[in-house]
Symmetry: C2
Subunit: 265 residues, 2 copies
């Protein structure tokens, strides 16, 4: 390893030979660096599904946590990937398909393909990227002490109602959050001004039929569990509701309250 690799956080090779690329990438893996490779490659995946991507130019990123990402020029999502926790390896492959290790025979194998493999178990998944032309290799030493602070989530909506239960309806009293039922945990469990049990399901944005089904399951489970004579009220809280979901709510005798996760500014 040269001194520059130790002293700088970024190391970049332009148009490296396959062997030079292999060496730098392998050192990057060892150092727990973030490694990027840009060039012309094919990609094969086999695991939860199976895919193949023919030759094209792509940007590949390997993270120190074991994640791998293959990006094309379009799309927010990578065209292929591997989740964190995978093991990465890099090696050269001869034209006949045999693998060349670092201890490759004298000739540096300029005509060889650079292969990068990412493996995982449970479930078994394999990603193989084969570069026929490497235009850039970079390794980055990353230090990121900060956590993302996010607001406007379902947790914010819950806090908002617990802080001011009248936002649901006057006289509403929360009794528990995440109350367990055989069908799962109810977001907010409480009672109304008349003492009737109320089950509240929260959604941070416009809801479809799935949320109604979820709410209905909670109520069914509770009515069986509590042998309730008086029907339990079910209230869906969200900014808005689709037409289909609205009809399902009416059919099942459930209610809807419009509320945003954060107060309007």
């Amino acid at each position: 390893m040269t001194s520059s690799e130790q002293e700088t956080q970024v190391l970049t090779l332009q148009e490296p030979t396959p062997e030079a690329a292999r060496e730098t990438i392998a050192a990057g893996f060892d150092r727990e660096a973030l490694v990027t490779v840009f060039g012309r490659c094919t990609v094969d995946y086999d695991g939860r599904a199976t895919s193949r991507l023919e030759a094209g130019e792509r940007h590949v990123m390997f993270k120190p946590d074991g994640a791998a990402l293959v990006h094309t020029d379009e799309g927010q999502q990578p065209v292929n990937w591997q989740p964190p926790g995978c093991d990465h390896e890099v090696f050269l492959e001869d034209e006949d398909g045999s693998e060349d290790g670092a201890e490759a025979s004298g000739d540096a194998g300029d005509g060889n393909a650079l292969c990068m493999r990412s493996l995982r178990s449970t479930p078994e998944e394999r990603l193989l990227i084969t570069f026929e032309h490497i235009m850039q290799v970079s390794t980055f030493t990353v230090t990121d002490p900060s956590e993302l602070s996010l607001s406007g989530t379902e947790a914010d909506l819950k806090a908002r109602i617990l802080d001011e239960p009248a936002l649901l309806e006057p006289g509403f009293t929360p009794l528990a959050t995440e109350r367990e039922t055989p069908a799962g945990a109810v977001d907010i469990y409480g009672e109304d001004a008349d003492g009737r049990t109320v089950v509240v399901e929260l959604k941070r944005r416009r809801v479809g039929p799935d949320a109604v089904g979820q709410l209905r399951r909670y109520i069914d489970a509770l009515e069986r569990d509590l042998h309730a004579d008086a029907a339990i009220r079910g209230v869906l809280v969200a900014p808005s509701v689709t037409e289909r979901a609205k009809r399902l709510l009416e059919r099942d005798g459930l209610e809807f309250v419009a509320l945003e996760p954060t107060a309007e500014s």
Copy 2:
């Protein structure tokens, strides 16, 4: 623009001044190149939610289609992002917060922060990345002619059953796919050996309670629609089913058939 920018597909600056970085990034946007920036930055997002990320080292990618991705050293998902279709801009900001355009005053503003903004409407969303230290800027000209070929999807599972309906059960006859109901489209609609209507819901992998709710909605909708006297059979097809979902199936009188999206090899 120098000749190298036109002739090479990859252009990289190491430890550039903010103004040099701004110029190269702006040129990259104009060329519809894929642009990456690595350095120490803060990130602010406001739109469907609100988030802030304090200073740390991150890898940022801007794609020609308008997507933006901010990656830390961990996670498959970017810590912040913007979907395709956004407008990107890059500019320098003085310490007082005022923006400096390309026509900035004579002093090249070495102490200034490099800002990159990505904007979108419907919904209104803003991403602002402020770099206090830029270690690398790269622009890549990407050509990728290939499409991903993927197998093992729900479509494969459907094709498998349509090709060999007996995989569902002997005597099953598919009559329609994507048959519309008030609750959405049924994956496969058919009848069994006794002429009873069968609704089939397909899932490419192990299913939980949500899939049971989906199947139940279809059956309820069809029974109302057809005023069916004889009950409609509902069959969930998936590789396997969770315990909770199994109980829900039994409770609702629905059936389960174990089947993989592709034949075992």
